[in-house]
């Protein structure tokens, strides 16, 4: 049985170390990096990469990805809810723009493999980048460009 004194020392050391680490990671990306002029080390396996930045920067532009299945020459829009068929209580991850991840070129190959398995009825697929240049100045205007095909 740990004595009370040892327990108290252990708790005090842990609490102090935790508070230093917690505040370091809260400040590191946005405040300490600019002061240090370099990328300070991140504590892996815990804490978000850039601190607590919930909706901290929102502008009037938006971007997402759309996927079209092509049968012969006819492209058909595939509802993203069919692509990623997850259902959470109280929110919709597609509306949180999870689709934008497929635009990273690094993921193109694995996403194509995934699409071919999920939708064997199509001959090929076109992954499009969709940009809304300004929801305030040009509401509803969208610019679409092909990103990659599979």
């Amino acid at each position: 049985m740990m004595s009370t004194k040892i327990r108290n020392i252990a708790i005090s050391v842990f609490a102090a170390a935790w508070l230093i680490l917690f505040n370091y990671e809260s400040l590191r990306f946005n405040y300490l990096n600019p002061i240090a002029g370099r990328e300070l080390p991140k504590f892996k396996f815990l804490f978000p990469p850039a601190g607590w930045i919930m909706f901290y920067q929102v502008d009037e532009t938006e971007g997402t990805a759309e996927v079209y299945g092509i049968k012969g020459d006819r492209p058909e829009f595939i509802d993203p809810h069919r692509i990623f068929n997850n259902h959470w209580i109280g929110y919709d991850n597609i509306r949180r723009n999870v689709m934008v991840s497929v635009l990273y070129p690094f993921y193109a190959e694995s996403f194509c493999r995934y699409l071919k398995r999920r939708f064997p009825e199509y001959d090929k697929f076109a992954v499009m980048q969709v940009l809304y240049p300004s929801n305030i100045q040009y509401p509803g205007r969208r610019i679409m460009r092909p990103f990659y095909e599979c």
Binding site: N30, Y31, W88, Y91, R96, F111
Partner: protein
Amino acid sequence: MTHHKLFLEERPSIGLSFFRLFAAFTVGAHIIPTLLPLQDNYLSTAFKEKNPSFFTPLALGIVEASPDGLVIFMTVFFLVFLFFFAIGLFSQISCILMVLGCYYFYALNSLHIGTLSYDILLVTLFLMCITGYHGDFFSVDSLRRGDPLAYKKKRPFFVQRLLQIQIASTFFYTGLCKFTASGNWLTANPIYYLLNSVPESAVKHFPGRVFFAHQPQLCYFIGIFIILSELSMPFLLFYRRTRYWAIAYGFLFHIMLVATLHVPTIFFFLFPPQLLLFINPEDIVAWIDKKRGQNAAKGREKIIYDGHCHFCVGSIRRVQVLDLTAKLEPVNYQPIEDLSKIDARLTRDLCHSQMQLLTKNGKLYGGFYAFRRMTLILPLLFPLAPVMYFPGMQWIGSFIYNLIAKNRYLLHRKGTCKDNLCFRP
């Protein structure tokens, strides 16, 4: 010393135990939906995204090499320990193993579960894993220990204090980032932009959206109010006089968040219960004690049991653990000469054959029916009531109850009653 008290003072852990239930629910509500389409999300056929800023390349590499069999094993592993954590069975070890599962699925595919709120959840869970204090009450562990006063159990306050600091700081830093660093809440009008975003965006179609979408000035001032409230939350939460208003505001804030935005419900399921950790645990215990006193004064339902049967005594102690506000009064019938003084229908044979429950309005229930009735009296047993009252349960339940009751002297932990005849009248 005051600073010493901040973390080391021993205070009731009941608030932390209550928070465990919400932490378990939050984990389940966030991860289980991704486990249902396992093939699409985690098996070799899935489309996966990695989070290299969170994990080391080595950890990602090891997890990525998982064969499908291991993924299925980890699914079962995670679900088992999530369940154990939720019911508080081996609370600390099940917390650690459940969190291991959380990390595994996060490393395997961060596409669906990997969000800022998930990182916050992991920070919370990390603190929960440090001790097993969260298993002190509302848990199978507390039933195993059989201490009817477990709700008063005092523990060093540091885990609860660090969880308080975590949520207060998260509010503060969230507000700070909105107008410093590259946050644009002062230089632009983010709420106005959000409300005018495309119909498929993260903004829900809530009543009033169209009105607010045409009020840029109002949106801007709402934004300023949000920043100010987030910045002031630590002070409002830690200052005793404003604490309860700050908790109420925090609740409202998260209700508004979930009503207006498609954000992970971790915010909604975890943060309000975490705010409840600011409620003084001594106040909770005082409230429980007051209710116990009131119930004792009003007269309680009597649970009549065999005090010569160690199994029965143990069971009664577990019932007392579940009976937080002391609605039941345990009565050992063995030393009572004249049971008719309690109720005319009670006899030694009747009480010996099975446990009896005598309600305040004079109804007498025996055996399984007494237990079933308890599920309507004790709030902690409410979840069992639909099962107990399911058609047919009276036969199955009575059969099992009678089997146990007849052989209860065999169930002594020390096995001293091998012939099942000890203490028979």
